[in-house]
């Protein structure tokens, strides 16, 4: 009998123990022989060889310079990254350091109190950064991530060799651009390579820049809080430009089916005369193109619209992504996390990234041997005014309404005015800026 009771107690202890240990435990920064180990959750597509090897170069340089800090990475990309970040935050098991967005993309997590405000560290070196990079990210001016760059989400790249071949010059107006379409298509090329299968590209890389022209920052500020409406001509006129481009077959065929990256391939393989994407594509172009190609790729903004009451000849800019740290980190662990955050976005990491084709947020002179396209991007950013990127200032859920509406508009199922009206209806009822 005693034997049976012992077995029963043993079984219960084993069962309870199993459940307890199966529940897991948040991993804490480990200190071993003076080496601090940090778990880092990073946003990286490991299948993108250029990005993966560029990032590894940074990590190797950091480890060489900081032998007392060891970084252990967990890599995810696209939605899986955001899913894990969100679920980790809910479970109270965030990594020590994580990749974050300055706007609303990771706003639920950064606004939850789970991420540390970096201002106490940043205040000591804020003069090193471009002012736009250190714009407030939280309701009370908090900065949760140190941006690695200031991003232009709209660049209209051109292949000047193809333009010479076709006897074209970069168009000054929308009308001239559309007129070039027939010449380009007849020669067998794509007028404007763009992919919008995921839905965000059209909004982020073109519509935002067009709204900066047709409305400007003041108008979008007013629309956010309800003093203007997305049904207004300022927004609808920008939509009409996209519709006109689509109807005139200016975009890549099947643009709304194409996965992100298809347009880049078409431009690199010289099947397209123009290519609209973000400035971040400079790193990919630097990695994928030949030296000869660098010389005949130019950076422009979209040609002038018939009316530009907002910011003429503008792009759309936003503070870039970067690393932040878990609010639970204190003392040596927090300092170690900052070492990496600052290395990544600061002068040391930026010098490495500048050679890889990135234009950093930190204000350092570009190295003389910087890639040609990085220099072109720097010139572009230095001379081009910027408006807001819509998805950086409006709720992410609203983008789930706007992006499909843009696709439906191109398919001809809704008019530009209906897109504006329906997005306005959603914003008025749901967007956090209006509440």
């Amino acid at each position: 009998m005693l034997h049976k009771r012992f077995l029963m107690v043993f079984a219960i202890v084993a069962l309870v123990g199993g459940f307890v240990f199966a529940g897991g435990q948040s991993e804490q920064p480990a200190e071993d022989d003076g080496v601090i180990t940090l778990q880092v959750q990073h946003y990286l597509d490991l299948a993108d060889n250029v990005s993966a090897s560029n990032f590894q170069e940074l990590v190797d340089a950091f480890h060489a310079a900081n032998p007392d800090i060891r970084l252990e990475f967990d890599y995810l990309f696209n939605e899986p990254y955001h899913n894990k970040l969100q679920s980790s935050a809910i479970a109270g098991q965030l990594a020590d350091v994580m990749f974050l967005w300055p706007g609303k993309r990771t706003g639920e997590v950064t606004g939850s109190g789970a991420i540390k405000d970096l201002r106490p560290w940043i205040e000591q070196m804020d003069a090193e950064f471009a002012p736009a990079a250190l714009a407030p990210q939280g309701a009370n001016g908090e900065i949760y991530e140190l941006p690695e760059q200031v991003t232009a989400t709209h660049v209209m790249f051109s292949n000047d060799r193809l333009m010479d071949e076709l006897g074209l010059e970069f168009p000054q107006t929308l009308e001239e651009l559309i007129a070039q379409g027939e010449v380009i298509r007849e020669a067998g090329y794509i007028p404007i390579a763009m992919d919008n299968g995921d839905g965000w590209q059209m909004q982020s890389c073109l519509l935002s820049a067009l709204v900066a022209r047709t409305g400007g920052r003041e108008w979008l500020d007013a629309a956010r809080v309800g003093d203007a409406s997305f049904s207004d001509p300022e927004f609808v006129n920008a939509l009409r430009v996209i519709k006109a481009l689509y109807d005139n077959e200016m975009f890549s065929p099947g643009i709304n089916q194409a996965a992100y990256g298809q347009a880049l391939t078409d431009f690199v393989t010289e099947n397209a005369v123009y290519f609209i994407d973000g400035g971040w594509r400079t790193a990919n172009l630097t990695g994928e193109m030949t030296d000869d190609q660098y010389d005949y790729v130019s950076y422009h903004v979209f040609p002038a619209l018939p009316q530009e009451p907002g910011i003429p000849d503008s792009t759309a800019v936003v503070a870039g992504t970067g690393f932040g740290m878990n609010a639970d980190l204190e003392g040596a662990e927090a300092d170690a996390a900052w070492e990496w955050i600052y290395f990544f976005a600061g002068p040391e990491g930026s010098a490495i990234k500048a050679e890889q084709g990135w234009l950093p947020a930190v204000q350092i002179p570009l190295p003389e041997d910087s890639p040609v396209l990085t220099v072109k991007l720097a010139d572009f950013l230095g001379s081009t005014p910027g408006g807001y990127v819509i998805d950086a200032v409006m709720d992410a859920e609203g983008m789930g309404v706007l992006h499909p509406l843009l696709q439906e508009m191109m398919f001809g199922n809704v008019t530009p005015q209906e897109v504006g009206d329906r997005y306005e209806a959603w914003v008025a009822a749901n967007d956090s800026s209006r509440s």
């Binding site: 969100q86 679920s87 809910i90 997590v109 709304n256 859920e397 499909p404 398919f411």
Partner: protein, 295 residues
Amino acid sequence: MTASREKKIAYGMLVGPSVLIYASIIIFPIVFSLVAGFTEWSGLGVPEFVGLKNYTRMLSDPVFRLGLRNNLLIVAISVFGQIPFGFALAYIIYRRMVRGHDFFETMIFLPITISAIVVAKLWNQIFSPAGLFTQLMRIIRDDPRFVLSVFEDRTFAIVPILFVILWMYTGIYMVIFLANLQRIDPGVIEAAVIDGAREHQILFRVVLPQMVNIVFTTAVFAIAGSLKSFDLIFAMTGGGPAHYTEVIAIYMYLNTFKYYNYGFGSAVSMMIVFLSLGLITAVQSVFRRLEARYV
């Protein structure tokens, strides 16, 4: 301790762990989703009770209704496509109506052994704007801007996905039917042949009545599987363009994990459960009648 008490303790010890595990990974999430479905909750902070608001919002959302329509089409292609087609293939192989039946059996079953993600990427490589079929058609038609416009049609964008689903999952039903056909006593069929029965009489009078229960089981599998369809479609189109190929599971995923509406997403997940139960109950009642007639 009495023998009966000892028996109870022994049962408890043997069954208890399984019940606990089942409760924690099946019952608890369902109950949790049911409760969360009545709240507004971003996943962080305190949920706010909102009653049936999530359900009314869901039912009035055209995107949900489009997803529901697509799901019902998938149910239809599964129940009225995969099952009859799977049975027909199994019957052809079972009755040795073709040569090389082992080869056909392997080929038909092959798609189900491949990951849904790989299948999705494979078909994308064929039909995407840069895909093999598209490039081929551009050459044949001498039209460098040719793309498959069906993907951009609100009504028919789901059709290519239905085709892939039919191609992919028919094999599993074929194997289930084949295994059960092989359990039929060959003597019964031989007797029918000796009695002069024709092939259609063997099929409808001898074989099919013995398959009613299996058809019911496969129909339940098909319905439950169809309503939770996610991986293949998400990898193929992500529900796009413009929600045209969205199904309820993708709608739930986007609302829950992309827009942080955990309460709303829970209500959508409960809707999938309710729809499954409703459809399975309907199928059960149909099969009870068939059973009464044939068995």
